[in-house]
Amino acid sequence: MPVHILLIDDDANIRASLGMVLRQEGYTVSEAGSGEEALNSFHLHPADVVLVDLMLPGVDGFEVTRQLRRSSDVPVIVVSARTDTHDIVAGLEAGADDYLTKPVMAKELSARIRALMRRAMSTSREGPVICVGDLEIRPDAGTVHRGGVELALTRTEFRLLCELASRPGSVMDRPQLLNRVWGYDYFGDTRLVDVHIGRLRAKVERDPSRPEVVVTVRGLGYKLQGL
């Protein structure tokens, strides 16, 4: 079954050209020119990956991402002309899994989509239960429990936790995490890692301002603190 992509951009020419590129890559594509249209379309016909522009008339890209995130863990990639750190971080904090700045290269776009799909589907393999502190991570089921309560992690957050848990106690630097979780080569943006670590902490830490599970090792990266 082909991967279905929802492409949201108010510029019809961009929708047309990127749509052609994506179809040529073998994806099926539905297009939306506004936030409202996109949300309706997603409810009727859920997509496997969402590409969203931040500057949309009416409901903007940030809001679309937030609303999608409320009901779904579908991978969201921001594709925007805005390159300010502020916008990028805001987009990621709204719940986006990755971001690309315009103009995007077709090769880069499908590489990003493939990385997200690989991650989304890789959780079906068998695996034991990994216990870190009071967290129980089940890579096979894609779930994390604390005290019997399941924590609602997005797939990217879950994958990030699994990568850190695969070697508990040892430090992983940002480029390593970028490569293993997002499939980037060395030039990925480390802000991706930092924002997702922040979101992960908000869900797995008892006090996110004083992390005890996902610990920063200054000058090196992050590690999972096994108790």
């Binding site: 020419n13 590129v21 002309a81 060395y186 943006d189 200054r218």
Partner: protein, 475 residues
């Protein structure tokens, strides 16, 4: 060069105050001295004259009515004050009484009495004259007694007066010197106070020139200076607004270019997929189009990057990084040909505080530059030079002429290499961005020549430390 420019405003104000005070105090002291001198001397002369007349009356009475009294006896009965000498001239003979001279009589005129004075008095005319007596200033007064053919003279010493005047002169000179010094100090203090707001202005101006465009002069101070502060602030505001507008314009332009560029790029990539179906001319056109779209895209991104750097909006996200790893990984991940990275043992553990993305951008731009203009990079080196970490990129090109080693970092620089740019894919912004990125880190970039020919671009960064990473928490 004029004197006004050689000395500062403060020095000149201080000197003016000191000169004014000196002039005024010297004039006042001189006037005081002159007046005091004149007044004291007049008083002394008057008192000497009065005393002489009194004494002359006594001498006359004694000579007239003192039966059998000789002139010597009359004179010896007088109590002579210190420094005063009495003389009586009678019938060609001089009689005198004083502590110093004693009582004596002689026919020769005493040296203390000038001839003119004596002849006037002998002629029946009282007279007074300033003389020198025993090397001291004195005043001689003569009175004709009009009886017994005698004349009376007194010589009053002015030594006390001279001493008083000397003391006065010393005191006045000291006062004048003190006033001059006072003027100097007041001038210094006052000019310092006056210049202080200028110093504040200079500090703010320097801060603004350094990029702190939000700095302003306080306007709630001195009303005389508020005008200057207001105009200064208005000027900075106008300047800042203009810079913001320029930066925003460049930023807006490159933003707006991104959307159509996305369509163009995607369409060109679609076309590239159809390349085999085009004829030779179509293929050549497609290749030209692809190349230029790539270059245009890079240019738009670099223009945006530079405009954001100008607007101070790039930010610096510093991380503690092992430079050798950072360089090796960046070079390995670069899309160009493989380049050997030389890291001597001394440089293996250099840690720097760097914005990973911006440093990588700088290094990649230098590598791209070497590929475009230098025949490709042939070696990358990491080294430590005191407090500086240096990353060098060598190429095998013609090198950069000494006269162009600074201007190559200017935006859209087209120099002697312009002729070779015809088929190049450079944007003219890459190296100027390298400089922006490196300076943001407190470092810089320079170009020299590689031993054996070619150019060597050197990126410099301050060394953070030379051992393992500084860590928090458990290792």
């Amino acid at each position: 060069m004029s004197g006004a420019r050689r000395f500062g405003l403060r020095a000149r104000a201080t000197a003016s105050f000191a000169a004014g005070a000196a002039l005024l105090s010297v004039a006042l002291a001189a006037a005081s001295f002159g007046l005091a001198h004149h007044y004291l001397l007049a008083q002394r002369e008057a008192s000497a004259t009065t005393e002489t007349y009194q004494d002359a009356r006594l001498v006359r009475r004694d000579l007239l009515f003192g039966v059998g009294l000789r002139v010597e006896d009359v004179l010896s009965s007088f109590t002579v004050p210190q420094g005063t000498v009495l003389f009586v001239y009678q019938r060609g003979k001089w009689y005198s009484a004083s502590v110093a001279i004693g009582e004596a009589a002689g026919t020769s005129r005493p040296v203390a009495l000038p001839e003119a004075l004596v002849s006037m008095v002998v002629g029946g005319q009282p007279a007074r004259q300033r003389v020198m007596s025993g090397g001291q200033p004195a005043i001689a007064v003569g009175v004709p007694l009009g009886t017994e053919g005698a004349d009376y003279f007194e010589v009053h010493s002015l030594r006390e007066l001279a001493r008083t005047l000397d003391l006065l002169a010393v005191v006045l000179a000291a006062c004048a010197a003190a006033t001059t010094l006072g003027g100097l100090l007041i001038g210094r203090w006052l000019s310092g106070r006056l210049v202080r707001p200028l110093n504040a202005t200079a500090e703010v101006a320097a801060a603004i020139a350094g990029g702190a465009l939000d700095k302003r002069l306080p306007v709630d101070g001195d009303p005389d200076l508020a005008v200057l502060a207001h105009s200064f602030n208005d000027m900075v505001e106008a300047l800042a607004e203009r810079m913001r507008r320029d930066a925003r314009f460049a930023s807006d332009v490159s933003h707006e270019l991104r959307s159509p560029l996305t369509t163009v790029q995607a369409s060109v990539e679609l076309l590239a997929g159809c390349r085999p179906r085009l004829d030779a001319q179509g293929q050549r056109a497609l290749d030209l189009l692809s190349g230029e779209v790539g270059r245009f895209s890079t240019m738009v991104q670099e223009l945006l990057e530079i405009s954001r750097s100008d607007a101070g909006a790039l930010g610096l996200d510093l991380e503690e990084l092992a430079l050798a790893d950072l360089v090796a990984n960046t070079v390995a991940a670069w899309s160009g040909e493989r380049v050997p990275v030389a890291v001597p043992p001394a440089a293996a553990n250099v840690w720097v505080a760097a914005d990973r993305r911006r440093f990588q951008r700088a290094l990649v731009n230098v590598l791209e530059n070497a590929r475009t203009y230098g025949g490709g990079p042939v070696g990358v080196g990491v080294a430590v030079d005191g407090a500086w970490a240096r990353v060098s990129v060598d190429d095998a090109g013609p090198g950069v002429a000494p006269g162009e080693r600074e201007v190559v970092f200017e935006r859209f620089y087209r120099g002697a290499v312009a002729g070779r740019r015809g088929d190049a894919s450079g944007t003219g912004l890459g190296l100027s961005l390298v400089r922006e990125h490196m300076r943001a880190h407190g470092g810089d970039v320079a170009v020299t020549e590689r031993p054996g020919g070619g150019a060597r671009f050197v990126l410099s960064l301050p060394v953070l430390h030379l051992d393992g990473p500084g860590t928090t928490g458990e290792r």
